[in-house]
Subunit: 422 residues, 2 copies
């Protein structure tokens, strides 16, 4: 049987070469339809969602535990990497152009293949804990230059460990969820006292999110292989940020409410296995990481990323950033090894944000803070709009994909539109 990543595989479902969801991808999501049935697990294939619960009922697939596909992704993740691989291989087999099992079962096809436009997509898994890293050297340097000058841009600890803070899991939401402009304490440097008001410097942060699929015990540490095998997959992640709230609140305990009002993720979780062909070595790490952070395999991924902004009242989204996940200084595996290193238990459903992904070039900056250089160089949009930060009604879309030979392994998109504060 060919490997599910085999570029020569074809499905009996027509898939456009520009689609994010060929048979080589098979990302998982949670969807429902207008019939009022509960959300269930599906896989994206071209313009369709394959309803895994339906095909489980017909006996075409089983993950061992009945009901694994009845809700969010956590149940499947609990079963571990061998089951993940077997399940993906079976889905691939069922979708192949030369397999009649599903292809020729018209009655099942009509139940189990749901046009994407009819599917409502939900948060794909229950988020246990959310941790946000700060692992792009270019991003950390840009921010450092802006606020501390060129000579002290990187903090002394930055090259020695993947810096992170605990984020707020309760407000991780799926793409399409409207984001209300947060209110908070603002105290610009030229003002004596803080006031409580709607944020004036609302920003996005382009990130990838790692979905942890296996637990690790309190008090334990992780090898590179253990960490890698705990990673179920990846999503696009927008770490919405209120820069003015952050600036006033964050000393000395870090970002809190400035990041707690919303974090948006893409509805499709692309498996680590599907990304395997796009693995590459990350930037040289100098100084060499301490032993507990050392990795022997290439642990970065070649994922093209694009951010586009549709200004309120216009119909023309404009690309404002084009970068790549491969630039990350600290890999997801290193982030996870670091996270567990003090004895911190990891849980199924933990989400690790990569940190804002900026690249070496100006057009590769992953936040408006950097793109507008702290508001001094507003970005110009089609129709004459200018933005230093986000306005009410603005809509932001992030996309990501790995370009194969004649096909794409893509993430779809994560979209969010800003609502006015009340």
């Amino acid at each position: 049987m060919p490997h599910p990543n085999d570029p020569s595989l074809r499905s009996f479902i027509e898939v456009d070469p520009a689609s994010d969801f060929p048979i080589q991808n098979l990302p998982y999501g949670v969807f429902s339809t207008a019939d009022g049935r509960a959300p269930r697990l599906g896989v994206a294939i071209g313009d369709y969602v394959l309803d895994l619960w339906e095909i489980e009922q017909d006996g075409l697939i089983s993950a061992g535990d009945p009901g694994t596909f009845a809700g969010g992704l956590n149940a499947l993740m609990h079963l571990g990497p061998k089951v993940w691989s077997k399940t993906r291989a079976r889905i691939s087999e069922l979708l192949r152009h030369d397999n009649p099992e599903l292809r020729d079962n018209q009655q099942l096809r009509s139940r189990a293949l749901v046009p994407m436009r009819d599917a409502r997509l939900h948060l794909p898994f229950t988020v246990s804990g959310y941790t946000d890293f700060y692992s792009s050297k270019e991003h950390a340097t840009n921010v450092g230059v802006m606020f501390r000058g060129k000579d002290n841009a990187l903090q002394p600890n930055w090259l020695h460990m993947p810096i992170a803070y605990n984020g707020r899991a309760s407000t991780v939401v799926v793409s399409g969820t409207k984001v209300k402009r947060p209110r908070g304490q603002l105290k610009p440097p030229n003002v004596e006292l803080p006031s409580f008001a709607p944020c004036k410097r609302l920003d996005f942060e382009l990130e990838m999110g790692v979905v942890i699929g296996q637990p690790s015990p309190m008090g334990g540490m992780l090898s590179e292989q253990q960490a890698e095998e705990m990673i179920f997959g990846f999503v696009l992640l927008n770490d919405w940020s209120a820069r003015d709230i952050q600036q006033w609140e964050y000393v000395p305990l870090g970002p809190f409410l400035a990041k707690a009002f919303a974090t948006s993720i893409s509805p499709w979780v692309v498996t680590r296995e599907a990304l395997e062909p796009f693995r590459l070595k990350g930037p040289e790490q100098e100084p060499a990481p301490l032993d507990y952070l050392r990795q022997t395999k290439p642990q970065n991924y070649d994922i093209a990323l694009d951010v586009s902004l549709r200004a309120a009242g216009t119909n023309a989204p404009a690309s404002i950033s084009r970068t790549n996940f491969k630039y990350m200084y600290w890999s997801s595996v290193q982030q996870l090894m670091h996270h567990a290193s003090s004895g911190c238990a990891m849980n199924v459903g933990d989400l690790l944000g990569s940190g804002t992904i900026s690249g070496p070039e100006k057009e590769q900056r992953g936040s408006l803070l950097e793109i507008s250089w702290n508001g001094t160089e507003p970005v110009e949009l089609p129709g004459g709009a200018k933005r230093s930060f986000l306005d009410d009604g603005d809509s932001l879309v992030m996309r990501g994909w790995c370009q194969g030979n004649g096909y794409r392994v893509g993430f779809g998109e994560v979209e969010g539109t800003i609502l006015a504060a009340e």
Copy 2:
């Protein structure tokens, strides 16, 4: 019917006046016994645990939903403050000396009243999110004086908002759980490069934890009354801290692994209602808080707190701190109003640490960092041991209680013993 807080109430169970668990308290916990049955909800009364699941089976109590008492506290919390009050009133009624329902039912008593020494106590609720505040002015000042000098002790934002960071929920554990000394990156100021090694400056932090019993929606804000009604109860909390890991990692995103290896809480959740007679006004707040943080009722509590340390190899615990929860500058209600103010959704089972509770006097300091003044004044223990920070084998116990007239509403204790790093 008398109110369950009535000081004149007596139970048919004998309760020592020095006990933490008279009929006026009735704290909730999750316990199991040696018979192998699943952990279930109980209430502490004197030296017994009342098995709520057993008395539900016998039809003596119901919270509306069958099975509410079959597991952790989250199910009861979900039902809301009216059910909390009714349930507590019914438990009080069943335990009264003049009520024969349970008192005279020997068969049920033998099943439902478990001697405390036979009960194994578990984490009382599933922790959804853990947030740790920094709300004692004396603690923040002590730390500030140590690291920044007297003139810049309090950060500029401190008097304007309850400063906090998101903690790690996955390692919140119940009293009695051993705490393994964490490893992490250490870089003392006099050394060029960090190394990965067991923490050398392991500390405790004396805190109270607020247990959130009702949710609030993303994008919403909370009035004083709404915030207060969401609070189910309180626990003792030890925010174990690795000072050396913290010192190197925390700029600019705050504490992360230094606090992620363990947070211990007491097994008994004392309800907000039971604390009502011990409510008092907190310290004067100057400048006056912004409107969204304003409180019209006394929102502090008079809870005596004691920390004792039993040095490894000795049998003599010594009290090293005696303070009171009433000193907190920002109240739990203000913390919760602040937490939700940016639109952050709160969940049933969220845990808010108060921050280290220090008082104005030297013997009221709530951490070894302060007690030993950053290691310069080691504390002397019985038998000649000295401690600036915690040694392997040391055992730390926190206790808390409200002193009524002839009775105590107490929290029991939260204990933790340090294991060597592997």
